[in-house]
C-alpha cells in the first residue's frame, strides 16, 4: 500500500491506517496523524529527508522512514 513517504511534493491524500509495529507509530498518532485525516506533503528538506506534512491545520516534520508507517489511500 502507498505510504506518506511515497508522496509527491504537493500531493494531498487521506490516511488509511498507521502501522502499529513501527516504534514511532504512537507518537505519530499523538501528533495528529490519525486514520481519516487528510495530509499534504508541503516541504522536503534539502537532503530529501525529513519531510513536512500538513495535518490538522499545522505542519509536522517527520523522517521519511517514519512517514512510511503512515498508509494512505
Amino acid at each position: 500500500m502507498k505510504t506518506a513517504a511515497d508522496l509527491q511534493f504537493g500531493e494531498r491524500v487521506t490516511i488509511n491506517s498507521i502501522d502499529g509495529s513501527h516504534p514511532s507509530s504512537r507518537r505519530i498518532l499523538e501528533v495528529g496523524f490519525t486514520p481519516g485525516q487528510e495530509i499534504e506533503l508541503i516541504n522536503i528538506s534539502t537532503f530529501n529527508d525529513p519531510m513536512a506534512f500538513s495535518v490538522r491545520g499545522t505542519i509536522i516534520a517527520i523522517r521519511k522512514q517514519e512517514a512510511s508507517c503512515i498508509k494512505v489511500i
Binding site: R27, S45, D49, P50, T58, I62
Partner: protein, 679 residues
Amino acid sequence: MSTNTIGTLPLVILVGPPNSGKTTLFNFLSGKNYKTVNYPGATVEYSISRLQKKFNLKANILDSPGIVSLYPNSPDEKVSIEALYSHPSFGIPDLVLVTADASQLSRHLLLVKQLIEAKFNVIVVLTMSDILYKKGYDISIAKLSKELSCKVVKVDGRNGNGTDELIKEVREELKNIENGIKQKPVRLDNSVSFDKLIKDYRLIEEIEQRVIFENNGKTFPDIKNANQQLAELSNYLKSSPKNKIDQTTLKIDKLLLHKVWGLVFFLLIMAVTFTSIFWLAQPLMELVDSAFGYLSTEAVQILGNNWLSNFIANGVITGTGAVLVFVPQIMILFLILGFLEDTGYLARGAMLIDKPLSKIGLNGRSFVPMLSGFACAIPAIMATRTIPNKRERFLTIFIIPLLSCSARLPVYALLLAFLFPENKSWIAGLVLASIYIFSIIASTVTAGIINKFSSKIIKEEDNSSFILELPTYKIPKLKVILNNTYHSSMAYVKKAGTIILFLSIIIWFLTYFPDSNPKINANNLTQEQIEQLTSAERISNSYASDLGKFIQPIMKPLGLDWRVGVSLIPTFAAREVFVSSLALIFKVTGDKGALQSSILKEMRRATISDTGKKLFTTSTIVGLIIYFIFALQCISTMAIARKETGSWRIPIVQLILFTLMGYIFALLAVNSLKLFGVG
C-alpha cells in the same frame, strides 16, 4: 523565593503542548518577577513565580516544559509528566491550567482529555482564538466547557485580555478545592492501546464539530452518532477551511525550506548570528573592560599601596571584571536565540540539518542544544533532554563541550588582541569566526568517529526518531525575548560569577603571599623599571610559583613556562579565569588604562627567565588558542554531564580525551610553526 512560601501557598501548574502559547500566558500571570532556569530553545527546567500582585490572589504559578500527551516519548517529557503528578520540590499541584490553541483544537484537546481522564483539577485556557477567527470561525466557550465538564477561559495572547477572568476562575476553583473534595490524580495505563488513541481523537473531532462555528453564526451540522457517520464527518473535515495552513507561513517556507535556497539561508542565518555576537558585543565589552580597569586603578590610589588595596583591586575588581566582560556576548547570543525561536525558525533549522546530523549519530533535535552550546554548555546539555533517543542524546552531550562557549571568548579576545594589533582588529574578527567554524568541525568529526568506532563510551541503542512541529511564523514579541534574555543572563552571571570570583581570590592569595619585599639594585633604573623588577621578584617567590614549578615540565614543550601553567590550573574549574590569572601574574599593580591593554603590555614584555627569550610569541599564542579550543575546563559542565547521563563515565572520558587532544594538537601546532620559522 524561599521554599516554605512555596509549601504554604496553593500551587497552580501550567501545562500545554509545544507552541500553544503557554509561556506567553505565564508571562501575563507572573509579570516580570519570575525565578527562572529557562534558556531559549528549550523549557527544560521550571520557572516559578507568585501571581502578579494586581491579581490580589496568593498562589504560586509553575511553568512546565511542553508535552504532547501524558505518555512520555523523551526524557524531558518524562520529567514533565512525573512533575505533574508530584513535583520534586514544589509538591502536588492544586490546580492545572492547560493551554490549547483554539485554531489547533483537534490536536490540542488530546492532552486536555488525558488530563481530565487522569482526574486532575483542570481549567482549560484557550489561546489564539484570533487566528481561528481570521480563518472565519469562532468557538463557543460554554459548549466546550459543557463537553469537557471543566472550566474554559479564553485568553488573548496579544494583549492579555481574559487574564482577569481566568484569575476569577482560578480563585473560585482553589476555594472549591480548599473546601473539600480535592481529587487525587491517577496514573494512566502506560500500555494504552493504539485503538484508544484513535478513539480519543474521534471523540475530540466530534467535540470540535459541536463547539466551533462559522463567524456568520452558522453552526456545523451536529453529528451525534459520529461513529456511524465517520466517513461523512471525515469528508466534512477534509474540506474544512479551518484546517487550512497559514498562507504566509507557506510562502515563507517556500523560500526558507526551499531545496537549494533553504540551505543557503540556513548558512547565512548562522553566519549572521555568530558574526553579530562578536561585532555587536565588541564595543560593550570594551566599555566594561575599561570601566573595571579604571576602578582597579582608583582603588589603589584611594587605599594606598598595601595588601588590602591590592586585594580589592586585583582580587575582587579584576576578578569581577573578568566575569562581567563577556556578559554582553552572552546576552546577544541569548537575544538572537530567543528571536530565532520566537519567529519559528529554530524548528526549521532542526529539520534542515536532521539528515546530516543523523549521519554522524546525532539528531535534528541536537541542533538547538548545539546552538546553545555556543553560549554555555550547561543549558545546552540540559536542553538535550528533548532528544528522545538515548544514544543520540548522550553523543550530543559528549560533543557539546567542544563547541566554542562564551567563556572561551575573553580568552580568545585577549590572545587574538596579542596577535593582531588594534588597527587590524578586523582580522581578529575573521580569525575568531574561523575558530568557531573550526570548533563545529572538531565537534562533528569527534561525534562521527565516536559514533563509528566506539560502543564503549555510548552504549545505548534505541529507535531514532525525528517528529517536530513547524510552528506558524510569528513576529517575535520583543518584550518577552528581552525578559527571557535578562533572566537567562542573570542566572548565568550569578552561577559563573561566584565560582570565578572565588577562584580569583584564591589566585590572588597564591600570587601575593608570602608577602616578600625583594631588594632591587636600583642603580641606573627608572621608577617604572624598579616596580617591574620588584613585582617579577615577588611573583617568583610566591606560593603560585611553587605550584607552577610542578607543571613546568608539561608547559616547556609548548614553549611556555610556569607562569602560564599557574594561570592554566584554575581554568579547569572555569576557563575564563585564565584572563584574570594572567592579569594577576603579569599585570603591574596600579597601571593606568583598560585591563586588557595593560595585560597585553606586560605579556609583550615577558621573557622566559633561563633563556631570556620572549615568552609569548605567535607560536605559543596559537598553541594556547588550540589548547583552549579542545580542553574541557569547566567543573560545572562535568557536573551537569554527570547529572544528565547518570554516571561519571562520560564526563571523565570528556575531561581526559578533550584535554589530551588540546595538549597534543597545541604541541603539534607550536612545533610545526617553529619548524617553519614562525617564532
